[in-house]
Point group: C2
């Protein structure tokens, strides 16, 4: 049967037999699957770039709309680091994370397209990850392997096969979702007709790897981490919250943080009033980041955070494929490249480098937003005209 | 007596009686103090902005050269966050951290000037800090109070009194050292004739506070931290090393890290070869940051890192003084403002804002260096002509 999970728990997944009929309504217990409902499919063993394989892999996904007769209207929206498959609201009316982009009447119009989103392997929203049961019945935990973005793309191709989608009308995403989309266009050129790569470049740079290392260490150094085998006991909440704080600083711009918080003290707290350092009050920006940390702790698994972060560290479209130009020469998709002008994590220059190396003349559509990297989520509406005119024409 | 310590240990300080004769050669056991040797002086109880006072405060300092008859040739060089008083080599010939700036024949010519450097209160290089003995004989540890940069400036003024220096020829520093110099010029306008503020602005911004919070949390969440009372047992080395990694990323530029390390694997290690995530090899930039972390752990106290970092969070020249223009109106020094063009921690725009608000026409001297913030240390030589012509004329 197909079960639905909220996006705030790590489910013990009951796997479907993978049966899915074109049209995307996986018939299970006789009832059609509702839009924006998590479904599960088993895609078998997954060979890994890093060596070995991950057995009996489950992918969790959601769909909206209807796949047409010739299966030509399918759009894959790839989520970012801690994102979920809930791109836009479904019949449950639970708000999605990219409603400016996908939904009835949106650029990725769910009245016209069959929109699919797949939870990344290693995550905690239903696809096989560190919190899933290994063959011995215990959670993978410390034993979970490195699953690169290229590995996860291969897994997603098998789901596409099961859905009867031989070629996507479009594959797109922002940040890590953009890296996943780009990997799709390079690995399976014949299966991607349009590719949207937003707020990320062709590979993770040294600085991006450096910030990622700090985040994974913050979790690994949590006294509750226990090498990754913490599912029986207390979980490394403080470490995950610190990782999120570090990440969140890079998701915003210095200007935005200063404009919103400046040097203000949090409510009644006094950063300068204290007998001892540990007792001092917080600045507003500290309280804000504490809140960002707690919010993630409430909805995400620390091992999954590490697994996906290290997958993103592995992002390199050129690995084993030659120069960037040579690598991209194999692509046949029409590309839509966008960047946020104030992004200080994935610099617009990286998007420009990618666009310049792509076959043909490819523009970089610039989102003007003071917020920084997160502008790809909050300000995608700025590109509405370009997306409708060029991409989803 | 005066004792000398290496810059890699936390000394149990034996305090002098503070006797120092003009000329800067503190006569203790009858022998003149050698250039570049740590000396100690007791400046009594220190009232604190945050409330209360720190009793019986010791300041550690070094001097080079000779104070002239009218005590008019004294230059105070303030160190940065984890810096020491060893600005340049002394008779021991141990290399200093800013030899391009100070030394025989350097802009701050020790053959001509009496150069002084003072270890910040809260540090671990001889001045009273969390590892020092409190009145009860135990280390301050968790009980160490917040000592703001303004507090530490007041302490340094008492040392200047004891050295017979009523007014400095110049006070200057980079990064936190620049904040300390600026605080001197605003708190004691009549005592600072020239002020050099390099690679820092008038206050710590929300983003700078945010990165600082992540660093202090990395230490506080170390299982060995024990609330700050760890001196009897194992010390929070992992937490301090993580704090340093986070900080070091912000000290360099994305371009520099990418140019030096790119996505290269460390030596024989393989970031993509591993059965389990925890076993994967490192990227070069990870190994580089691991090394930066270990180096600091070998020479710095974790509580001092927190104490000074929170002092830097408190950096706000305007606190209790009105607008930036009003605050700076009281200064009488000639200012030398400089910034590194690629600094992504203390943005050149903050130096410009400071220069624009200062009385008179003040330029911002730009250091052109791809390295980022650390350029103030490595590339100060670029400003040699300006420093000699304008500042140390």
């Amino acid at each position: 049967m197909t079960i639905s999970v909220t996006r705030t728990e790590v489910p013990n997944v009951e796997v479907t037999d993978g049966a899915a009929v074109p049209g995307g309504t996986a018939v299970t217990d006789g009832t059609a699957v509702k839009d924006g409902t998590v479904q599960y499919v088993n895609i078998g063993n997954l060979e890994l770039e890093a060596g070995g394989f991950l057995p009996d892999v489950t992918l969790a996904y959601e769909t909206w709309g209807t796949l047409n007769e010739d299966c030509s209207n399918a759009i894959l929206v790839e989520h970012a680091l801690t994102g979920s498959t809930h791109v836009t609201r479904g019949t449950d009316d639970e708000e999605g994370w990219w409603e400016q982009l996908a939904g009835p009447g949106a650029p990725a119009d769910t009245d016209r397209f069959f929109v699919v989103s797949i939870n990344i392997v290693g995550g905690c929203y239903g696809s096989t990850g560190p919190s899933s049961a290994a063959p011995d019945g215990r959670p993978w935990g410390s034993r979970f392997p490195l699953v690169t973005l290229r590995d996860t793309t291969a897994a997603e191709a098998r789901l596409a096969d099961q859905l009867g989608i031989s070629s996507w009308y479009a594959v797109l995403g922002g940040s890590m979702g953009g890296a996943r989309a780009l990997e799709w266009a390079v690995t399976y050129p014949e299966r991607v007709r349009r590719c949207g790569v937003i707020s990320i470049g062709a590979s993770s740079t040294a600085e991006q790897i450096a910030f990622a290392q700090a985040q994974t260490l913050a979790i690994r150094q949590d006294p509750h981490f226990n090498g990754g085998d913490y599912y029986a006991g207390p979980v490394p909440e403080a470490g995950l919250a610190l990782a999120r704080r570090i990440a969140h600083i890079t998701y915003r711009s210095a200007q935005e943080l200063d404009f919103r918080f400046g040097r203000n003290a949090q409510a009644s707290e006094a950063p300068l009033r204290a007998d001892a350092l540990a007792a001092r009050g917080r600045y507003q920006v500290e309280s804000y980041l504490d809140h960002q940390g707690s919010k993630l702790v409430g909805r995400f698994d620390a091992n999954s955070y590490i697994a996906i972060t290290e997958a993103l560290m592995s992002h390199d479209i050129c690995r084993g494929r030659g120069s960037l130009k040579e690598t991209l020469a194999r692509t046949t998709a029409d590309f839509f490249i966008a960047a946020v002008n104030t992004d200080r994590l994935y610099f617009p220059s990286q998007s420009r480098e990618l666009a310049d190396a792509l076959p043909g003349d490819v523009d970089v559509h610039v989102i003007e937003a003071p917020i920084g990297h997160d502008g790809f989520l909050t300000e995608i509406g700025q590109l509405d005209a370009q997306l409708r005119g060029v991409f989803f024409a």
